[in-house]
Symmetry: C2
Subunit: 153 residues, 2 copies
Protein backbone atom coordinates (compact mmCIF):
# COMPACT_ATOMS: atom_id res chain seq x y z
CA UNK A 1 0.00 0.00 0.00
CA UNK A 2 1.16 3.50 -0.73
CA UNK A 3 2.53 5.44 2.21
CA UNK A 4 0.87 8.52 0.78
CA UNK A 5 -2.51 6.86 0.91
CA UNK A 6 -2.34 6.70 4.71
CA UNK A 7 -3.24 10.39 4.83
CA UNK A 8 -5.64 11.83 2.27
CA UNK A 9 -3.85 13.77 -0.45
CA UNK A 10 -4.60 17.39 -1.24
CA UNK A 11 -5.76 18.02 -4.83
CA UNK A 12 -2.36 19.45 -5.78
CA UNK A 13 -0.60 16.41 -4.34
CA UNK A 14 -2.79 14.13 -6.44
CA UNK A 15 -1.56 15.92 -9.56
CA UNK A 16 2.02 15.84 -8.25
CA UNK A 17 1.86 12.07 -7.98
CA UNK A 18 0.90 11.70 -11.63
CA UNK A 19 3.52 14.28 -12.63
CA UNK A 20 6.27 12.42 -10.75
CA UNK A 21 5.31 9.15 -12.42
CA UNK A 22 5.52 10.73 -15.85
CA UNK A 23 8.82 12.48 -15.11
CA UNK A 24 10.24 9.18 -13.86
CA UNK A 25 9.22 7.56 -17.15
CA UNK A 26 11.33 10.21 -18.91
CA UNK A 27 14.36 9.29 -16.80
CA UNK A 28 14.02 12.18 -14.35
CA UNK A 29 14.36 11.78 -10.58
CA UNK A 30 11.60 13.84 -8.93
CA UNK A 31 11.13 15.14 -5.41
CA UNK A 32 8.04 16.83 -4.06
CA UNK A 33 7.88 19.96 -1.93
CA UNK A 34 11.45 20.97 -2.48
CA UNK A 35 12.80 24.19 -0.95
CA UNK A 36 15.37 25.73 -3.33
CA UNK A 37 15.97 28.63 -0.94
CA UNK A 38 14.50 29.78 2.33
CA UNK A 39 10.91 30.91 1.88
CA UNK A 40 10.27 29.18 -1.44
CA UNK A 41 8.81 25.73 -1.88
CA UNK A 42 8.14 24.15 -5.26
CA UNK A 43 5.63 21.34 -5.75
CA UNK A 44 7.91 19.15 -7.87
CA UNK A 45 11.55 19.52 -8.74
CA UNK A 46 13.10 16.91 -11.02
CA UNK A 47 16.69 16.17 -11.94
CA UNK A 48 17.23 14.88 -15.47
CA UNK A 49 19.74 12.44 -16.90
CA UNK A 50 22.00 15.27 -18.09
CA UNK A 51 21.67 17.34 -14.92
CA UNK A 52 18.69 19.33 -16.20
CA UNK A 53 16.47 20.83 -13.53
CA UNK A 54 12.74 21.15 -14.12
CA UNK A 55 10.20 22.71 -11.79
CA UNK A 56 6.50 21.86 -11.93
CA UNK A 57 3.84 23.78 -10.02
CA UNK A 58 0.58 21.86 -9.63
CA UNK A 59 -2.65 23.86 -9.72
CA UNK A 60 -5.88 22.15 -8.85
CA UNK A 61 -8.20 25.06 -9.66
CA UNK A 62 -8.48 28.61 -10.96
CA UNK A 63 -8.50 29.90 -7.37
CA UNK A 64 -5.36 27.93 -6.57
CA UNK A 65 -3.61 29.50 -9.56
CA UNK A 66 -4.88 33.04 -8.95
CA UNK A 67 -3.68 33.04 -5.35
CA UNK A 68 -0.10 32.18 -6.35
CA UNK A 69 1.90 35.39 -6.36
CA UNK A 70 5.26 33.66 -6.17
CA UNK A 71 5.63 31.57 -9.27
CA UNK A 72 7.85 33.98 -11.22
CA UNK A 73 10.43 33.62 -8.48
CA UNK A 74 10.75 29.94 -9.34
CA UNK A 75 11.98 30.65 -12.86
CA UNK A 76 15.42 31.43 -11.43
CA UNK A 77 15.69 27.94 -9.97
CA UNK A 78 15.22 25.73 -12.99
CA UNK A 79 16.08 25.21 -16.66
CA UNK A 80 12.42 24.70 -17.58
CA UNK A 81 9.24 25.68 -15.73
CA UNK A 82 5.88 23.90 -16.10
CA UNK A 83 2.37 24.12 -14.80
CA UNK A 84 0.51 20.89 -14.12
CA UNK A 85 -3.28 21.03 -14.13
CA UNK A 86 -6.17 18.64 -14.62
CA UNK A 87 -8.28 18.34 -17.74
CA UNK A 88 -10.94 20.73 -16.45
CA UNK A 89 -8.54 23.60 -15.77
CA UNK A 90 -8.99 26.76 -17.91
CA UNK A 91 -5.51 26.69 -19.47
CA UNK A 92 -6.02 30.09 -21.16
CA UNK A 93 -5.22 31.59 -17.77
CA UNK A 94 -1.66 30.32 -17.81
CA UNK A 95 1.08 32.76 -18.81
CA UNK A 96 3.06 32.37 -22.02
CA UNK A 97 6.62 31.19 -21.89
CA UNK A 98 5.84 28.32 -19.53
CA UNK A 99 5.30 24.61 -20.09
CA UNK A 100 2.01 22.80 -19.67
CA UNK A 101 1.41 19.33 -18.25
CA UNK A 102 -2.01 17.69 -18.01
CA UNK A 103 -2.09 15.34 -15.04
CA UNK A 104 -4.27 13.10 -12.96
CA UNK A 105 -3.43 10.91 -10.00
CA UNK A 106 -1.99 8.15 -12.15
CA UNK A 107 -0.03 9.73 -14.94
CA UNK A 108 0.60 12.93 -16.86
CA UNK A 109 1.46 14.21 -20.30
CA UNK A 110 3.49 17.19 -21.47
CA UNK A 111 1.21 19.21 -23.72
CA UNK A 112 3.57 22.13 -24.23
CA UNK A 113 7.31 21.91 -23.62
CA UNK A 114 8.62 24.78 -21.51
CA UNK A 115 11.24 27.03 -23.09
CA UNK A 116 14.73 26.49 -21.79
CA UNK A 117 16.50 29.14 -19.70
CA UNK A 118 19.69 27.46 -18.57
CA UNK A 119 20.94 27.86 -15.04
CA UNK A 120 24.53 28.95 -14.50
CA UNK A 121 26.91 26.13 -13.66
CA UNK A 122 27.47 27.40 -10.12
CA UNK A 123 23.77 27.65 -9.34
CA UNK A 124 23.08 24.27 -10.92
CA UNK A 125 25.73 22.59 -8.76
CA UNK A 126 24.52 24.30 -5.58
CA UNK A 127 20.94 23.34 -6.38
CA UNK A 128 21.80 19.71 -7.12
CA UNK A 129 23.67 19.51 -3.84
CA UNK A 130 20.67 20.86 -1.97
CA UNK A 131 18.40 18.47 -3.85
CA UNK A 132 20.71 15.56 -2.93
CA UNK A 133 20.67 16.51 0.75
CA UNK A 134 16.91 16.93 0.79
CA UNK A 135 16.22 13.61 -0.93
CA UNK A 136 18.73 11.65 1.18
CA UNK A 137 17.35 13.06 4.44
CA UNK A 138 13.78 12.29 3.55
CA UNK A 139 14.78 8.82 2.43
CA UNK A 140 16.66 8.29 5.70
CA UNK A 141 13.64 9.41 7.73
CA UNK A 142 11.44 6.90 5.90
CA UNK A 143 13.92 4.05 6.20
CA UNK A 144 14.70 4.67 9.86
CA UNK A 145 11.78 6.53 11.42
CA UNK A 146 13.15 5.99 14.90
CA UNK A 147 16.32 7.95 14.17
CA UNK A 148 16.44 11.30 15.90
CA UNK A 149 17.17 13.59 13.00
CA UNK A 150 17.69 16.75 15.00
CA UNK A 151 20.64 18.10 13.13
CA UNK A 152 18.81 19.10 9.98
CA UNK A 153 18.78 22.72 11.11
CA UNK B 1 7.64 0.77 13.11
CA UNK B 2 10.74 0.87 11.01
CA UNK B 3 10.36 -0.19 7.39
CA UNK B 4 13.72 -1.89 7.68
CA UNK B 5 12.50 -4.00 10.56
CA UNK B 6 9.99 -5.70 8.28
CA UNK B 7 12.80 -7.82 6.89
CA UNK B 8 15.60 -8.97 9.16
CA UNK B 9 18.74 -6.88 8.70
CA UNK B 10 22.09 -8.41 7.81
CA UNK B 11 24.84 -7.74 10.40
CA UNK B 12 26.44 -5.11 8.16
CA UNK B 13 23.10 -3.35 7.74
CA UNK B 14 22.67 -3.21 11.51
CA UNK B 15 25.98 -1.32 11.74
CA UNK B 16 25.01 0.87 8.78
CA UNK B 17 21.88 1.97 10.60
CA UNK B 18 23.88 3.18 13.60
CA UNK B 19 26.43 4.81 11.29
CA UNK B 20 23.72 6.70 9.40
CA UNK B 21 22.21 7.97 12.64
CA UNK B 22 25.57 9.28 13.79
CA UNK B 23 26.38 10.87 10.44
CA UNK B 24 22.98 12.57 10.45
CA UNK B 25 23.76 14.00 13.90
CA UNK B 26 26.87 15.59 12.33
CA UNK B 27 24.74 17.24 9.63
CA UNK B 28 25.52 14.71 6.90
CA UNK B 29 22.87 13.23 4.62
CA UNK B 30 23.55 9.49 4.29
CA UNK B 31 22.41 6.88 1.80
CA UNK B 32 22.99 3.16 2.02
CA UNK B 33 24.15 0.84 -0.75
CA UNK B 34 25.17 3.56 -3.12
CA UNK B 35 26.70 2.68 -6.50
CA UNK B 36 29.30 5.34 -7.42
CA UNK B 37 30.08 3.56 -10.69
CA UNK B 38 29.00 0.35 -12.34
CA UNK B 39 30.29 -2.66 -10.41
CA UNK B 40 31.00 -0.87 -7.14
CA UNK B 41 28.61 -0.55 -4.23
CA UNK B 42 29.48 1.18 -0.98
CA UNK B 43 27.66 0.47 2.28
CA UNK B 44 27.17 4.11 3.23
CA UNK B 45 27.88 7.30 1.34
CA UNK B 46 27.20 10.59 3.07
CA UNK B 47 27.07 14.15 1.79
CA UNK B 48 28.24 16.81 4.24
CA UNK B 49 27.12 20.38 4.78
CA UNK B 50 30.02 21.72 2.69
CA UNK B 51 29.68 19.13 -0.05
CA UNK B 52 32.13 16.70 1.57
CA UNK B 53 31.71 13.07 0.55
CA UNK B 54 32.44 10.32 3.05
CA UNK B 55 32.31 6.59 2.41
CA UNK B 56 31.85 4.06 5.22
CA UNK B 57 32.25 0.32 4.74
CA UNK B 58 30.61 -1.75 7.48
CA UNK B 59 32.34 -4.96 8.50
CA UNK B 60 30.56 -7.34 10.84
CA UNK B 61 33.42 -9.81 11.31
CA UNK B 62 37.02 -10.65 10.48
CA UNK B 63 35.82 -12.93 7.68
CA UNK B 64 33.67 -10.15 6.25
CA UNK B 65 36.69 -7.85 6.19
CA UNK B 66 39.15 -10.44 4.82
CA UNK B 67 36.89 -11.29 1.90
CA UNK B 68 36.72 -7.67 0.72
CA UNK B 69 39.18 -7.24 -2.11
CA UNK B 70 37.60 -4.08 -3.44
CA UNK B 71 37.86 -1.46 -0.75
CA UNK B 72 40.88 0.37 -2.14
CA UNK B 73 38.83 1.16 -5.21
CA UNK B 74 36.45 3.18 -3.02
CA UNK B 75 39.15 5.65 -2.03
CA UNK B 76 38.77 7.37 -5.39
CA UNK B 77 35.11 8.10 -4.68
CA UNK B 78 35.28 10.05 -1.45
CA UNK B 79 37.10 12.74 0.49
CA UNK B 80 37.39 10.50 3.56
CA UNK B 81 37.12 6.73 3.91
CA UNK B 82 36.05 4.91 7.11
CA UNK B 83 35.53 1.42 8.38
CA UNK B 84 32.63 0.79 10.72
CA UNK B 85 32.87 -2.24 13.00
CA UNK B 86 31.37 -3.40 16.27
CA UNK B 87 33.15 -3.39 19.61
CA UNK B 88 34.31 -7.00 19.28
CA UNK B 89 36.07 -6.49 15.94
CA UNK B 90 39.89 -6.92 15.93
CA UNK B 91 40.68 -3.39 14.77
CA UNK B 92 44.41 -4.14 14.39
CA UNK B 93 43.47 -5.76 11.10
CA UNK B 94 42.39 -2.48 9.56
CA UNK B 95 44.85 -0.73 7.26
CA UNK B 96 46.48 2.57 8.17
CA UNK B 97 45.34 5.73 6.50
CA UNK B 98 41.65 4.98 6.98
CA UNK B 99 39.09 6.19 9.50
CA UNK B 100 37.52 4.04 12.20
CA UNK B 101 33.94 4.12 13.46
CA UNK B 102 32.62 1.89 16.24
CA UNK B 103 28.93 1.22 15.67
CA UNK B 104 25.95 -0.73 16.88
CA UNK B 105 22.37 -0.77 15.66
CA UNK B 106 21.49 2.45 17.47
CA UNK B 107 24.40 4.82 17.16
CA UNK B 108 28.07 5.11 16.34
CA UNK B 109 31.17 7.05 17.24
CA UNK B 110 34.19 8.15 15.20
CA UNK B 111 37.24 6.73 16.96
CA UNK B 112 39.77 7.80 14.35
CA UNK B 113 39.11 10.51 11.78
CA UNK B 114 40.00 9.46 8.25
CA UNK B 115 42.67 11.48 6.47
CA UNK B 116 41.33 13.79 3.79
CA UNK B 117 42.06 13.16 0.11
CA UNK B 118 39.95 15.72 -1.72
CA UNK B 119 38.04 14.80 -4.81
CA UNK B 120 38.45 16.96 -7.90
CA UNK B 121 35.64 19.43 -8.46
CA UNK B 122 34.44 17.65 -11.59
CA UNK B 123 34.27 14.25 -9.93
CA UNK B 124 32.61 15.71 -6.84
CA UNK B 125 29.88 17.34 -8.94
CA UNK B 126 29.30 14.19 -10.97
CA UNK B 127 29.15 12.11 -7.80
CA UNK B 128 26.73 14.48 -6.06
CA UNK B 129 24.48 14.38 -9.12
CA UNK B 130 24.50 10.59 -9.07
CA UNK B 131 23.85 10.61 -5.32
CA UNK B 132 20.92 13.02 -5.84
CA UNK B 133 19.40 10.81 -8.52
CA UNK B 134 19.81 7.67 -6.44
CA UNK B 135 18.29 9.20 -3.29
CA UNK B 136 15.37 10.82 -5.16
CA UNK B 137 14.51 7.59 -6.99
CA UNK B 138 14.57 5.50 -3.85
CA UNK B 139 12.49 8.11 -2.06
CA UNK B 140 10.02 8.15 -4.94
CA UNK B 141 9.74 4.34 -4.86
CA UNK B 142 8.96 4.43 -1.12
CA UNK B 143 6.46 7.27 -1.42
CA UNK B 144 4.67 5.84 -4.43
CA UNK B 145 5.25 2.08 -4.50
CA UNK B 146 2.63 1.63 -7.20
CA UNK B 147 4.52 3.77 -9.68
CA UNK B 148 6.09 1.76 -12.50
CA UNK B 149 9.64 2.99 -12.31
CA UNK B 150 10.89 1.24 -15.41
CA UNK B 151 13.02 4.01 -16.78
CA UNK B 152 15.81 3.80 -14.23
CA UNK B 153 17.98 1.92 -16.68
Amino acid sequence: MSMLSETPMMPGQVLARGVCRHLASLGFAPVEEFVPERGRRVDVMALGPKGEIWVVECKSSRADFMSDGKWQGYLDWCDRYFWAVDEAFPTDLLPEGTGLIIADAYDAEILRMAPEAKLSGARRNALIRRFATHAARRLHALRDPEARLDAWG
